[in-house]
């Protein structure tokens, strides 16, 4: 674990991507398979199943420290990270000279067995390890115990490091890292073995991610070179059908097949060796709002009632594998034709929406202005905007610019006033960066309407932090209330009725657009103004697209 702790320090001490990749590659080259496997597990952002809850760890820390509970909690609020609080708050350890376990031994022989201990025994063991380890190791130990490392590396960077360390193509590593795996020595050996071209049957392909359109459409060239589709407000997913089995993967590489039995049932008619990319949406005579789909998320098993209320479909827009052949290198237009051909073969082309494959329709357009007009209808259709896909683009891994653009509709925007602030976590600990904004209701009473964490520059954050500290009215634990004076323009992507919010509304993806220093609190939007943004009904965009 000392090597892994040193790797962590090296990763944490640099913002250079190349330096991070080099440090990880060094680690992997010299790592025994068990350590390598666990390192991949943690560096790729996976975590152990929760062994000891945060509240219990805090109690252990209070007991292990010489300080009253409120002071320990104040330290935690300042630091923003429990593992780091543990590492800083406890007295520096006297090295006892005993050998430390390897990363694999630490996880398998120390951490995982905690699951079988009662609370008292867990406390004894954890505190004992805290006292044995030095600050850095104590931090790592607690991090692994509580969750993901979050050290600024992505699975993509881990793949780059593995590819460099074992002289393999990055795409091979990426595909081996997709899907379900257990961090065992066998996994690490398989991950790093030479490339023999074989594919495990459940394994999806790395998702191709679109970039936000950052240039005028006119500069994209002839409209005829591009395919346009709606950008669905759903869940990106890959449907894998191989050897009579179906696997549905979310973009977070989670196997979600059991949560969508209706998709699985329809997929049974797909031929073996087929991989489809598309969007899961709630579907009853058309697309349901995302809020409906949200009810299906977070449930491992879905009951018959919910299944009937919010049936889900996969709107297919790409075909990555057909007849067992990887066609990601073919042109977008060719893959689209393959997908349409597949849909026709399956149901004779009669009723696309009734067959196993529901296609995400293409939008016909001959000039960019006409497409812009289509985009303007997006909100009324309940979609997020448009996708533009270059006809000759290959299906790349990850976010590569140029092939796929997302052209979202402009967000909603309101002016609201700051009423509460709370210190952030992690990178933003010790600054007030989590803000609550309000608008007045019909009685002039301020109702919280949105929480936002992003959108200000670092300089603005520091300035606002100072203002908050000087104008604190009340403190509720970590939250401070401030006079309703600072006005901000808040943008958001969607709005829905909500019984769980005091305002009766919930906003999607709220963020700060700008600090309206010119505006005073009397000029903000009212709750009634915001309510008017609720759209009454949503027509069916698939039908609408087919009409047009």
């Amino acid at each position: 674990m000392r090597r892994f702790s040193e790797l962590y320090q090296a990763l944490d001490a640099t913002t250079s991507t190349n330096a991070k990749v080099a440090a990880m590659a060094d680690f992997f080259r010299g790592a025994p398979p068990a350590d390598g496997a666990w390192a991949v597990h943690f560096l790729a952002g996976r975590r152990l199943k929760r062994l000891v809850g945060g509240a219990r760890l805090r109690r252990m820390l209070v007991e292990a420290s010489d300080y009253p509970e409120w002071l320990v909690l104040a330290c935690y609020a300042e630091v923003g990270d429990l593992a780091e609080t543990v590492s800083l708050l406890l007295e520096p350890a006297g090295a006892d000279g005993a050998a430390l376990p390897t990363l694999g031994e630490l996880v398998e022989q120390v951490l995982l067995p905690l699951a079988d201990c009662d609370e008292a025994e867990q406390g004894r063991r954890v505190v004992d390890w805290w006292r044995r380890l030095d600050r850095r190791e104590r931090f790592l130990f607690t991090k692994l115990l509580t969750g993901a490392l979050r050290v600024g590396v992505s699975q993509l960077l881990v793949a780059r490091a593995l590819a460099a360390a074992f002289d393999l193509p990055r795409s091979v590593i990426q595909q081996r890292l997709m899907g379900d795996w257990q961090p065992s020595p066998a996994f690490f050996e398989a991950l790093t073995r030479p490339d023999d071209g074989s594919v495990e049957i459940s394994r999806p392909y790395p998702f191709f991610l679109a970039s936000p359109l950052d240039r005028p459409t006119g500069s994209l060239g002839a409209p005829g070179q591009w395919l346009a589709e709606w950008k669905w407000d759903g869940i990106r997913a890959q449907l894998v059908r191989r050897r009579g089995q179906t696997f549905l993967w979310s973009r977070g590489e989670e196997l979600i097949t059991p949560r969508f039995p209706e998709v699985e049932a329809l997929a049974e008619r797909l031929p073996d060796g087929t991989v489809i990319d598309g969007e899961l949406v709630g579907w009853r005579d058309g697309v349901l709002p995302f809020a409906a789909l949200q009810r299906r998320l977070g449930r491992k098993r879905v009951g018959p009632k919910l299944l009937a209320e919010v049936p889900v479909r996969l709107l297919a827009y790409d075909c990555l594998e057909i007849g067992g052949r990887d066609i990601r290198g073919s042109a977008q237009a060719v893959r689209r034709a393959t997908l349409e051909d597949l849909a026709r073969r399956l149901d004779g082309g009669t009723d696309a929406a009734g067959g196993p494959l529901t296609l995400s329709p293409l939008i016909d357009f001959t000039d960019w202005d006409a497409l812009a007009a289509e985009r303007a209808r997006a909100r009324e259709l309940g979609v997020e905007g448009l996708m533009l896909k270059r006809g000759d683009a290959a299906y790349e891994a990850g976010r590569r610019r140029g092939g796929w653009w997302k052209w979202k509709v402009d967000p909603y925007a309101i002016d609201a006033v700051l009423i509460y602030a709370q210190a952030g976590h992690g990178r933003r600990a010790s600054l007030f960066t989590d803000y609550t904004f309000a608008v007045p209701d019909e009685h002039g009473e301020l109702k919280p309407i949105a929480k936002a964490y992003s959108g200000l520059t670092d300089a603005e954050i520091r300035e606002l932090d100072r203002w908050i500290r000087r104008h604190t009215l009340e403190r509720f634990g970590p939250v401070r209330s401030v006079p309703a004076q600072q006005v901000f323009e808040i943008a958001f992507e969607g709005i829905a009725e909500s019984s769980r919010h005091k305002s009766g509304l919930s906003l999607r993806f709220p963020r700060i657009v700008r600090w309206r220093r010119d505006a005073d609190a009397a000029s903000v939007d009212t709750l009634a103004d915001v309510r008017r943004l609720l759209t009454a009904g949503r027509p069916d965009p698939v039908a609408a697209a087919e009409d047009s």
């Binding site: 913002t15 009253p68 952030g424």
Partner: protein, 348 residues
């Protein structure tokens, strides 16, 4: 935290008025008619040190510790500054005032205020770690101690300064091997000079390059008799910075001034760098933990050593320190001042 009725009834001077009260202009001694570090112009200002949140322009007369007067005049050109040696008593009417080393920066002082047998001490900003560029903190027994609380949380414990200097030297050597400049950001007044002095054993005759804001303070330190290693102002003559160590104030980061270094490694030296979140948020490559404020053990030990029966806490974690002391049987309360500790200097 009511700003007006701040000082409660206990710790009251013989004539029935609190020796120090909080007014709109700051900490005020009515009996002697002077303010300590006022944030508005007043008649008589007793200054603890030359940092911007403690030494503000516009007052008629300033009293400051002799070693810090040149700094104060540098920051407040034209101000009427009267020097007083550490420990030398001055009368303000019936009140006796003396200044005592605070160990924060050159000439920094605690203010001891005695009236009718009662002693109040205002700590100003202070630290307990050794600093080759200023006189060490002196414990001054007090009935009432007004202490700063910038880092008053037990997570704040400073590493040994020599260890940090070694870390900076290693970082510099690493960058030099890669042929990139090492730009270390730090406050121009105090921190930069302390770092220079601590880095002296690692320089092997090489000069350290400095931003103009740092270099002008270096000159004041040298004139005051503080020994600093050889420094060169960035931009004086043709220079190759590829293996250089450069000290600059945080405000220079991201400015056009930085362009001359091409690709450069950046570091920040501050007590806040103890926290990983701060290191990451600032976007510097490295954080080095060096503070000119007392850490938690320093604060607690100092409060105890003064023997004060009452403690008032200002800036930073003043509420928390007051509560902790109160639970340990010390009469303690927080005072809302406009001092900002180490945080504000990042905006200078």
């Amino acid at each position: 935290m009511d700003k007006t009725g701040l000082v409660p009834a206990s710790g009251v001077a013989p004539d029935g008025i609190a020796l120090i009260e909080l007014t709109d202009s700051g900490l005020y001694c009515r009996a002697g008619d002077f303010h300590v570090d006022p944030w508005r112009p007043v008649a008589n200002a007793v200054i603890t040190h030359a940092h911007a949140d403690h030494a503000r322009a516009g007052s008629a007369r300033y009293l400051a510790a002799a070693p810090g007067c040149s700094l104060l005049r540098h920051r407040l050109p034209g101000a009427a500054v009267e020097p007083v040696d550490y420990g030398e008593p001055r009368r303000f009417g019936p009140v006796t005032v003396s200044l005592h080393p605070a160990g924060h920066v050159l000439g920094s002082a605690q203010v001891r205020i005695e009236h009718g047998g009662e002693v109040w001490v205002v700590s100003g900003d202070f630290k307990r770690q050794a600093d080759p560029t200023c006189a060490p903190f002196e414990v001054v027994p007090a009935d009432v101690f007004i202490t700063e609380a910038t880092f008053a949380l037990p997570v704040y414990r400073w590493p040994d300064t020599a260890t940090v200097a070694q870390e900076v030297a290693d970082w510099w050597a690493d960058n030099a091997r890669r042929g990139v400049a090492s730009v270390l950001f730090c406050y121009a007044l105090g921190k930069a000079q302390r770092l220079l002095a601590e880095l002296a054993p690692h320089l092997d005759g090489r000069p350290v390059f400095t931003h103009g804001a740092v270099e002008s303070i270096n000159a004041v330190y040298r004139e005051a008799g503080v020994t600093l290693p050889d420094t060169r102002r960035v931009g004086d003559g043709e220079q190759d910075y590829r293996e250089a160590l450069v000290l600059a104030p945080p405000g220079a980061g991201g400015s056009s001034w930085m362009r001359r270094f091409g690709e450069a490694a950046t570091g920040f030296a501050s007590g806040w760098m103890l926290l990983r979140g701060n290191r990451r948020r600032r976007g510097y490559d490295r954080g080095f933990v060096v503070s000119d404020h007392a850490d938690w053990p320093g604060l607690i030990d100092t409060v105890e050593a003064t023997g004060a029966a009452r403690v008032l806490t200002t800036h930073g974690q003043s509420d928390l320190l007051a509560r902790y002391l109160a639970e340990r049987g010390v009469a303690a309360a927080a005072v809302a001042t406009e001092f900002e500790g180490e945080g504000d200097a990042t905006l200078q």
